[in-house]
Subunit: 496 residues, 2 copies
């Protein structure tokens, strides 16, 4: 049995993955690419020192299991067969690798922390994995402007630690922060917990250095906060999931650290109260509100069951249909607490608020295998989407032991982003087929997004049309063709 | 003599512009485009009602002066010779116009409020002006999420007024708000006064509807705050200044209104104090700091001279080398005032702060003609850039009556954006040649931006290379060629 995901950071043993599952989709566009040969490895050895090359081919001849952590995602859902992993230390090395692969028509998978949820960072077949792990230097930090320039391979947590003494924080935070890399964050346009407060990476990323699919280095690594000189090309690489080039450097604006942080959990008698509550909280807490998260009853009960501790007294929870976790981050503790007190006083006439620091995302996975759907839908339909999915699975006879155990929802109300999770005893094509395209159609009926923050990766290429028009997809293809006419860059991802 | 710019909103009389100046640059790529003929006007009359067409051609046969406000920019610096102005009311009408122009190879200039500073919205030759002024409906507003969807032709101030009763504000504010349109704001990636607080339009614009150069309607008018499904194509149109397509609709996230707003003006004995002051103010005011503006001595004195009123007592101003205006916008007045009081107490030991509501940008233009340079440079070089430019003009014998009167600087410290203004008695090629490429080279030597927020337009196409690498510009050309192979969309702008 797989370890739950949060364990991976403590115990990254992946050899159990080698007996691959079957959820990986075949991709026919890959057939025009060439496999890596011993000659190619010879050439890579001219670009990189031997310590930067892992290969099952001669003269390295490693066991395939040595490449397991690069060939498999942490959920155990996506599996590639790369024979060769390269770990360049400089942008020039990346450029030299890409030039060679371009010439030889060899597919490349850029890989950061490999913490994605949609199979975007593992090979589909036998592409070369280009790991950014060895590019992990901070290039500069200006404590006055808060502008940080870093190699793409810097781990998010290490950047957070680096700037903390200067009273700044990273504008994004996510569960995988101990492993994920800033380049991967940008490539996937990671959202996470601070989006409500600090906005998306399209706003906070100031510049990028990118190696394009022909090996050219595009240096847009500016540290300017404002620069209206021509098309903002870097935006194309934010969220392109490595299909237009390899991000090697990131310039990002970091905000000043908040001086105080508070969490409040609310138990709500009805889901209908979520939106009025959100409006009231936004008005009362205004600029210090940094998160407003929705947790449905099932998700809350699972968190309590798995030892997250009781956040609320049993009598307060009884009859609650859902929960909301609000977070504040402000510049002066006493002001923030006063604002919270006013809010709670106002609320106590109607609802029952209490303090909690529980975390839902970790608890969920202890139950079994999780089908994760990360969707954007109108706030008013959060509960309906979860209920309809549960009913649909029940009507198909799948809500039972040995199949689906729970259907639950939680997410970022402030961002309109619902995480709809289906917890099952095992991954099966029967459950998969019951969920897809069902959920995608449900999302499309609300004009929502089938991937609010996780991206498309290998998982959702077939589902892109539920959220994007034919015109949009046609233009994405034209952009892809323009940047990567040979189709070597992260093949099989984003576009089918 | 020209009216000063702020007068235009009260008195929009443009006929005096017809005796054109010579600052407009010839553009050779335009030669492959066809002029509008009477047959074309006939066809436009099938798409639009007669009230939506202004033309000097038969059967309309208007006097050329009737088109003056569309052919000239408000500074009187850029002059076109369009014979025909179209004012569609719907996206479909825009699409039909563009389809025809695409087929006939007729150049198109999309025009919003025509308030730009770089000649981006007036014809270079005789292109068709497509004014968005008649597309001015709000399509939807959700007071819970704050998401506004509006026609591109909505005037910024009218949108501000529309959402005010719902306790929301537009995430941008600029001097031209009474005339500029939201579509133009997006096309030029307008920065303005609230950027420090609410970030750039790349973050707050959620979706766009764009008519592409072949007439196709690209509908990415989503109201989702998070949507990671493929390439974020809309980003390309933000700041492309109408050269990749015509923006017809905008979906934008509007923040909740601050409950309180305060301004503080500081007089500083030395420029060197600006950065330490910025750091201290950022720390003390944190999330309520919404603007931090630098004003040099010359700019301050001009403001006082032109009746903005004395902001500070004479004895406090004596010997001050520069000034800083800080603005707060917060959710609770007493908390904001307390934070400001603490800040002032801390500061009084070293500096002399006083309250002011003066506005610098308006006063400047009363003096004469203004050469406006809108640049991004490191904060530490703000004063140096102004001083070096003044010395340069002095060494060329141009700091005298009849030529340059003042060289002054003010700008957004928080954004690293300096407005370097050269006030002269008249526009002359002698002054122009002394300023360019001098200033651009100065900016390039600091790795800055030659256009922080105004854009490239027709004015700076030749200067793009000072801020962008050859690789970047080559890729901009490829993008332009991909979207607009016939070169009909806002020809002569952004790329030479």
């Amino acid at each position: 049995m797989l370890s739950p995901p949060w364990r991976r950071f403590a115990l990254p043993s992946f050899s159990r993955y080698s007996a691959a599952s079957t959820t990986c989709r075949a991709n026919h566009s890959l057939s025009r690419l060439n496999p890596v040969t011993a000659q190619d490895v010879d050439h890579f050895a001219k670009i990189l020192p031997p310590t930067s090359i892992l290969s099952t081919l001669a003269p390295f001849s490693l066991a395939a299991t040595e490449l397991d952590i690069y060939n498999n995602d942490w959920m155990g859902k996506y599996h590639g067969n790369a024979t060769t992993v390269l770990k360049p230390k400089t942008t020039q090395e990346v450029s030299d690798i890409v030039k060679w692969c371009h010439e030889k028509r060899i597919g490349i998978v850029p890989q950061g922390g490999n913490t994605g949820l949609v199979g975007g960072s593992v090979p589909v077949k036998d592409e070369v994995v280009t790991s950014l792990a060895n590019m992990s230097q901070v290039r500069s930090f200006d404590p006055i402007s808060g502008i940080l320039v870093a190699d793409a391979g810097c781990i998010l947590q290490s950047l957070t630690d680096y700037i903390a003494p200067h009273h700044h924080v990273m504008p994004l935070d996510l569960g995988a922060k101990g492993s994920c890399q800033i380049g991967g964050n940008v490539a996937t346009n990671a959202g996470g917990l601070r989006l409500l407060r600090y906005g998306s990476l399209h706003g906070s990323v100031l510049g990028l250095e990118v190696v394009l699919p022909d090996g050219t280095i595009l240096d847009q690594l500016t540290t300017l906060r404002k620069d209206n000189t021509g098309y903002d090309l870097k935006q194309l690489f934010i969220g392109a999931e490595g299909t237009l080039g390899i991000i090697t450097g990131v310039s990002i604006l970091t905000p000043p650290s908040p001086q105080a942080s508070n969490n409040v959990i609310f138990a709500l008698p009805h889901f209908d109260n979520v939106l009025p509550l959100y409006q009231l909280v936004k008005r009362e807490l205004s600029e210090i509100l940094s998160a407003f998260e929705f947790i449905d009853r099932t998700a809350y009960d699972l968190a309590v069951k798995h030892g997250q501790g009781r956040a609320l007294r049993d009598e307060d929870v009884e009859g609650a249909q859902c929960f909301v976790l609000a977070e504040t981050s402000g510049g002066r503790r006493e002001h923030d607490e006063e604002k919270l007190t006013t809010l709670l006083e106002t609320l106590l006439e109607a609802d029952k608020p209490l303090i909690n620091t529980g975390c839902v995302t970790e608890a969920v996975s202890k139950e079994g295998k999780v089908y994760k759907y990360d969707i954007s839908v109108p706030l008013s339909t959060f509960k309906e989407c979860v209920d309809i999915t549960r009913e649909h699975l029940r009507s198909m006879g799948l809500m039972r032991e040995g199949a689906v155990r729970h259907v639950l929802g939680y997410g970022h109300v402030g961002d309109g982003n619902l995480h709809l999770n289906v917890v099952a005893d095992t991954y099966s094509s029967e459950i998969q087929d019951a969920l897809e395209p069902f959920i995608y159609e449900l999302v499309a009926s609300h004009r929502g997004s089938v991937s609010a923050e996780h991206g498309i990766g290998a998982m959702k290429t077939h589902a892109l049309h539920y959220s994007k028009s034919a015109v949009s997809i046609a233009w994405m293809r034209k952009i892809k063709e323009l940047f990567d006419p040979r189709g070597i860059m992260n093949p099989g991802k984003v576009l089918e």
